[in-house]
């Protein structure tokens, strides 16, 4: 068994799966980075991702086109997060409570809708997932080729989002306003920036991306929707943001770490590793705790995170 683990083909397979599994985490984390950099903590990512998952599935199912599903998931995420935005920004209420409310709401709504539409059956409805696309030339590179360049188009979108979000946050005026609003909203306000508007944009963009992350799960990977299918990924995405120091590249590395760990747990199960599978299933969650313990302190957290801004 150990010879298999240390063989090249196993490692390549592991990393390929790791990238694929990391994708929803990465996209949701990128969205949360935008929201938190603007000072709004949105722990409702889990519920938002679920909503995106279901909307994506329904969109793809009823239209027959997976890309319409992707669009639906995106919009659902934006919509759900606008509730969080209204409660947290305009009404300036406790952002943790709002996030929890969104999670419970999203879970209940998706369970109810799916149950009402399809009932509980042994044969859940399925859709066509997006086929992997091999990028010419680059996919022939040994080792890196299959890992990075023979993935679903959604993975490519996710990877492209990393530099996109980075540039948007650190190289544009809007990004500067966003970061200012997250660090010193009073100063930004004095400088003429509309704190609520910028925060709304940040939170809803975060929601769009969280919805997209959810779609990756249902339309992009599994081809179906199951109750509570995100299984805590939204919370792991929160940890990815912290572990990645609120930086898109950091989020990429952190989500890859979690993705590979999850993939490892799957392969070990398949290899017949003599550990009860439940312990392997615990691995991503334990890893998150270890990662958080290691990221001692929250260096890099925006100064005004989770503090509602009220005009004096």
């Amino acid at each position: 068994m150990w010879e298999t683990i240390f063989s090249l083909s196993f490692l390549v397979g592991l990393l390929t799966a790791g990238v694929r599994i990391a994708t929803p985490l990465l996209v949701a984390a990128l969205g949360e980075i935008m929201s938190e950099k603007a000072g709004v903590l949105n722990i409702g990512i889990e519920g938002t991702m679920l909503a995106g998952s279901l909307a994506g599935f329904l969109g793809a199912y009823y239209s027959g086109n997976p890309w319409l599903g992707v669009l639906a998931g995106l919009l659902a995420g934006g919509f759900i997060s606008s509730i969080h935005a209204y409660l947290s920004i305009t009404l300036a209420t406790d952002q943790v409570v709002n996030g929890i409310a969104i999670n419970v709401f999203g879970w209940g709504l998706t369970s109810l809708l799916f149950g009402a539409l399809f009932g509980i059956s042994a044969n859940p409805p399925k859709i066509q997932t997006l086929e992997p696309i091999a990028i010419p030339f680059l996919s022939r590179i040994p080792i890196l080729g299959p890992i990075l360049f023979q993935q679903s188009p959604l993975v490519y979108i996710a990877l492209l989002l990393v530099p996109l979000v980075g540039v948007a946050l650190f190289k544009t005026d809007l990004g500067l306003s966003l970061r200012a609003v997250g660090e010193q909203p009073a100063a930004a306000d004095t400088a003429g920036i509309s704190v609520p508007l910028v925060r709304y944009i940040a939170v809803i963009t975060g929601g769009l991306l969280a919805g997209l992350g959810g779609v990756f799960l249902s339309v992009g990977q599994l081809g179906m929707f199951t109750d509570n299918m995100t299984a805590g990924r939204g919370f792991i995405a929160l940890a990815v943001v912290i572990f990645g120091r609120w930086n898109p590249v950091g989020a990429l590395l952190a989500s890859l770490l979690f993705g590979v760990a999850y993939a490892l747990q799957l392969s070990l199960q398949a290899l017949g590793f003599h550990v009860p599978h439940q312990f392997l299933l615990m691995l991503p969650y334990v890893l998150t705790m270890v990662a958080l313990a290691g990221a001692v302190g929250r260096r890099g957290a925006p100064a005004s995170l989770a503090i509602p801004y009220r005009k004096a």
């Binding site: 929890i100 209940g108 369970s111 109810l112 805590g232 929160l238 313990a293």
Partner: protein
Amino acid sequence: MWNIGGEGQLLMGALAASCVSLAVPGWPGWAIIVLVALAAFVAGGAWAGIAGFLKARLGASEIINTIMLNYVAIYLVNWLVRGPLKDPASYVPQSPVFPAQAWLPQILPQTRVHAGIVLAILAAVAVYVLLWRTSLGFSVIAVGSNPKAARAGGISVASTMVMAMFISGGLAGLAGAGEVLGLYHRMLDGVSAGYGFSAMAVAILGHLHPAGVSVFAFLFAALRVGADAMQRQLGVPAAVVRLIEGTVIIFLQGRHMLPALLSRPRHRAGSSQTAASES
């Protein structure tokens, strides 16, 4: 601090209760129940205490850690009821039935109401006394309002945090023990059906006071029972309860829009002087 790990702590408490009940079958009923309550409290408390410790010492988000521990607990129980704790005489993943002395007596005949409700009421009173009539409670409230001032006043913020989480988790653990001793009389998957999250909603709605919490706990329980009946008789998925819970919290938070809504007619009808006095 936020303890979102109610699910996991409840499960750990139920687990501890199960292990104790199965380990001491010969003991008198009252002794078992006391021991079980203790074990469940410690188990749930320790589970929450992990997150509390990580927060107090390392600043790690207790929100994320308590949630992660939920999943760990779920998988742990899942393994145990299929492995070491499994009842050899049964096909279903569950533990053997507890000895009769470990069963909480039924209070209302012809219903499933058991002595756990007495425990719950006692717990509510105990929490009230603890928070508003003891120095530990004072520390907890102080640290919650203003950690820096609390530290200046000589309170150890770190140990208060851990203690608060411990008691919080311990109470959840007691809930788990109640379920497993009074209702199921064995350990199985799904002892907690989202109770942890509902508990959060109840706590928030009840304005973090035992009296309010008691009222809303009863209300939410009624919602749940009704939802189960709806599912059985009308085919409406029981998830509607979760949707209602989430909607309730959202609208509760939304109550802050009322002042703005109510003051608008005066504002609009007013002249520039009103506008000046509003801003």
